[in-house]
Symmetry: C2
Subunit: 332 residues, 2 copies
């Protein structure tokens, strides 16, 4: 669920007074998204999304995210656009949170990915990478390779602080998963492409199906740029392969991968080095999601009122990518 | 969160083909509501709500609920209206669930209740009771007094199946709460108004702030009739007093209660017997919500991916109502 912060009607009315978009007609929490509180907002002048940024987002990064969204739109990418208030500002405070209103994007995200979704996703990702090239400010990827070892170390610390678990208990199983992830992490970081060896730029870094809208069978827009960062472009492809190309039983669907990769390369051709690096980048992307989920799993008390996402979903993907000998196994 | 069932885009498109309301333009899960999966649906022809009925709703009751909503609207109550398909049916299947599309209601529910919300709520509740008078079919209230002892007994059985808890542990505290509820339940049922002694009719039975929309300072509509039933009308007032008249620190706000009760009585005068019964009805209403929450609390494994609502919120209300000597203490 994605409503962590409630907004009173008085606070909402006062907030909307800062804008020239009319008064609230409807205001409903959106169940999607896990990092921020999102509301579907209808005013007398149209439809908008109101986002309250929760603790995982660094407020110092918000101008970069909003600037990127405006830059991408100016280069033809359909994505939500920050609405500026009467004072010109797109970012302000509401209910004790940083908050912004963005435009409403029509479309429906695919709850079940079909092969025909994957080519449009690949093409859109490549277009996003090209469109971002002349956005000058950069943002280091806090969840990139340098961030992975500390994430695992902190997860292990929490486990170490707990009592020694019984053999066969859930905690013992979690320690086993940490060991598996640690081994894969060492090998992946050792094989990671050196800085400057692959093209870098601004990546979406979270292009999952719930962030891609389709309408009438065509991709109609991309949303949720709050993990975007400056990193290897091909790493973004690896994230998309993790996100779009596994079946519910964790089988890798090479037909989907081929469609995604071919459509990407038709817009932005991949260098030989990028192709060769794809298997290790895919392992890294699986590790990144396994690690944040493992960290949240270990650090969320079982009684807490939040949904914990299962790290196994990405450990299963990681295991597949560890068996992939080269880029051909991934559809290239 | 209120999306338990995901709907694929193909399934949604096929479902919409059964209606004459156009194709999907946007489709987003709504974070509110705890019993069913609700989606905000925009089509090429307008805005709707798509509801998938989850396991707590008995499918046999759905025609009664939808019929009540249509009946109430025909008598001037603003509430969602079932949209009928090309075949005339308002109820069909989607993603393995019973499902219906209803009209979109503008308005915003009050996240923080102010005294000025309470008179419109009281008046709307009385109008709803009058409007329901000539809706002939009835529905027994499964969560009425007869349903409370079995709910407590089943909660206790689950506790009894577990190991004897340590003194001071959460489970020991839960057993203590069950004892407290059991004592109050016995006294409340003993004092409950006899059948036929108070006016009965169709009640909303869940008129909480998130089910009442306001627009421009006026009540604009009532939603979520899936707990509605045929029961004592004054019991519905007691539920509303529980829902609208407590502060976050569980202090009873008699100003809010007076406003709600006076506005109700201005539309449908309360009999002497109803007034006298209000304290016991309020205790019963607090017990009803304490019991379902206690039951869910005990029967939900701590690791489950659902939000458990704290039963203490209603045990605190119950404790207040146990101190209320007569209806004057409640604002009558």
């Amino acid at each position: 669920m994605a409503v962590y912060t409630e907004v009173t009607d008085e606070a909402l009315a006062a907030f909307l007074d800062e804008y020239a978009i009319g008064q609230a007609v409807a205001f409903r929490g959106i169940a999607e998204g896990v990092e921020n509180s999102n509301y579907s907002l209808r005013t007398t002048q149209g439809d908008f999304i109101l986002t309250l940024y929760e603790k995982r987002v660094d407020p110092a990064d918000l101008p970069w995210f909003l600037g990127l969204m405006e830059h991408l739109a100016s280069r033809g990418i359909t994505c939500p656009q920050p609405v500026h208030g009467r004072d010109g500002a797109a970012l302000r405070q509401l209910a004790g949170r940083h908050a912004a209103i963005t435009t409403f994007l029509p479309g429906v995200w695919p709850r079940r990915v079909r092969p025909e979704h994957c080519a449009p996703v690949g093409a859109a990702l490549a277009r996003l990478h090209l469109a971002g090239q002349d956005y000058a400010p950069t943002r280091a990827n806090a969840l990139g390779p340098a961030g992975w070892p500390p994430l695992l170390a902190r997860a292990r610390e929490t486990l170490a602080d707990a009592a020694t678990p019984e053999a066969g208990s859930p905690d013992a199983a979690t320690i086993g998963l940490c060991d598996e992830v640690q081994a894969a992490l060492g090998a992946t970081l050792a094989a990671w492409p050196a800085a400057g060896s692959l093209p870098a730029g601004h990546i979406h870094a979270d292009l999952f199906p719930d962030n891609v809208f389709f309408l009438d069978g065509r991709l109609s827009g991309l949303i949720d740029f709050y993990f975007a960062a400056t990193d290897l472009l091909a790493y973004d492809i690896a994230i998309a392969l993790n996100a779009w190309c596994f079946e519910p039983d964790y089988a890798f669907n090479v037909t989907k991968a081929r469609a995604l990769l071919a459509a990407y390369a038709a817009v932005r051709p991949l260098s030989r080095a990028e192709r060769a690096a794809l298997p290790v980048l895919c392992r890294g992307a699986a590790l990144r999601f396994a690690l944040t989920r493992l960290f949240d799993w270990i650090n969320t008390p079982p009684g807490a009122m939040v949904t914990r996402k299962d790290p196994m979903e990405y450990i299963r993907r990681l295991r597949f990518f560890l068996t992939a000998r080269d880029e051909h196994a991934l559809g290239l």
